[in-house]
């Protein structure tokens, strides 16, 4: 039976359907999860999708962090279940303290929407094992508040421990410190990523299929378990 990957829909989520589609194309069974439930429906991995949960009121992800299902998501993440936060999902993971740092408004103050080249630096997380370290991929990027910030000690620790998962190549699109596009936790099961791999899983509807590896990686990790 194919592993089940849950995708949480918050009020204001935009990319939940695309994320479920990416999960399906990768070969897993997508499961729609609802923010208001206290039920992960037995999923083997979880995706927090992009969008504007709760209207981005207060701070991006600040209210979603306290959604009922986040109790179960945080517990699952701490138990080693693979969790991927994309864009708004990354913001929610930071607000939940599952990942360090925070995402602030783009330094140039405009929304950015473009195909973005990334270099995968850590290919040993639950979500990047199907890539090779140093590989470059192109996936869409679309955010208004995608500037990753943390204090220097945190940034040094992330780099020193190999926890920078992906970095921007060919120009920093949002002012992220040290060009960081994605990070992971110490265990490597929780990954936050500002760009959108779920929009690069089919030739017809994206810049290519180089985002699919994030989803097949989780499948590989789950099957091997």
């Amino acid at each position: 039976m194919a592993p089940k990957v849950g995708v949480v829909t918050f009020p204001g989520s935009l990319d939940d359907v695309d994320a479920r589609r990416a999960v399906r194309i990768a070969g897993a069974e997508p499961v729609a999860l609802w923010h208001g439930d206290h039920d992960l429906q037995g999923v083997d991995a979880i995706v927090l999708p992009g969008g504007f949960s709760y209207g981005d009121y207060l701070r991006c992800g600040a209210i979603a962090r306290f959604a009922p299902i986040m109790t179960e998501v945080v517990a699952a993440a701490n138990a080693g279940v693979p969790v991927l936060g994309i864009c708004n999902g990354f913001q929610i993971l930071c607000e939940s303290h599952l990942l360090p740092g925070a995402l602030i408004r783009n330094d140039h103050r405009t929304f950015v929407c473009r195909d973005q080249q990334l270099v995968i630096e850590n290919a040993s997380t639950a979500w990047t094992s199907d890539y090779t370290a140093g590989q470059t991929v192109t996936v869409p990027l679309k955010n208004g508040e995608g500037g990753f910030v943390a204090d220097a000690a945190t940034l040094d620790a992330l780099e020193g421990e190999g926890r920078v998962v992906a970095r921007y190549v060919g120009g920093n699109p949002n002012g992220s410190l040290r060009d960081i596009a994605g990070i992971t936790n110490e265990r490597g099961n929780v990954v936050g990523l500002m760009p959108h791999p779920e929009h690069a899983v089919e030739e017809l509807t994206g810049p290519g299929t180089e985002g699919l590896g994030f989803f097949t990686s989780a499948l590989t990790a789950l099957v091997a378990r």
């Binding site: 207060l58 930071c94 360090p100 602030i104 408004r105 140039h108 103050r109 500037g147 910030v149 943390a150």
Partner: protein, 80 residues
């Protein structure tokens, strides 16, 4: 009914693009005496009393929800 004010400001070392945008607009409006602008948030919390326990609770609210300690500082004060 007493009111408690929570001010939340981006930490000094954190870039504040909104404050920069406001500052950038000032010369266009003919205001030239302002050298920098930082933008924050003000929350007005209505409370029954301002005893120690209530203020401790407000501080907890400010720390866990109203601000993100990674990027913001907050202050709590009783109005009046």
């Amino acid at each position: 009914m007493p009111r408690v004010i929570v001010d939340v400001m981006p930490k000094p070392e954190i870039l504040d693009p909104q404050g920069k945008a406001v500052h950038g607009a000032l010369p266009r409006l003919g205001f030239h005496g302002i050298t920098d602008v930082r933008q924050g948030k003000r929350f007005e919390l209505e409370v029954d009393t301002t005893d120690e326990a209530t203020l401790a609770e407000v501080a907890k609210v400010a720390e866990t929800l109203l601000s993100n300690p990674v990027i913001e500082d907050y202050t709590v004060r009783v109005e009046g």
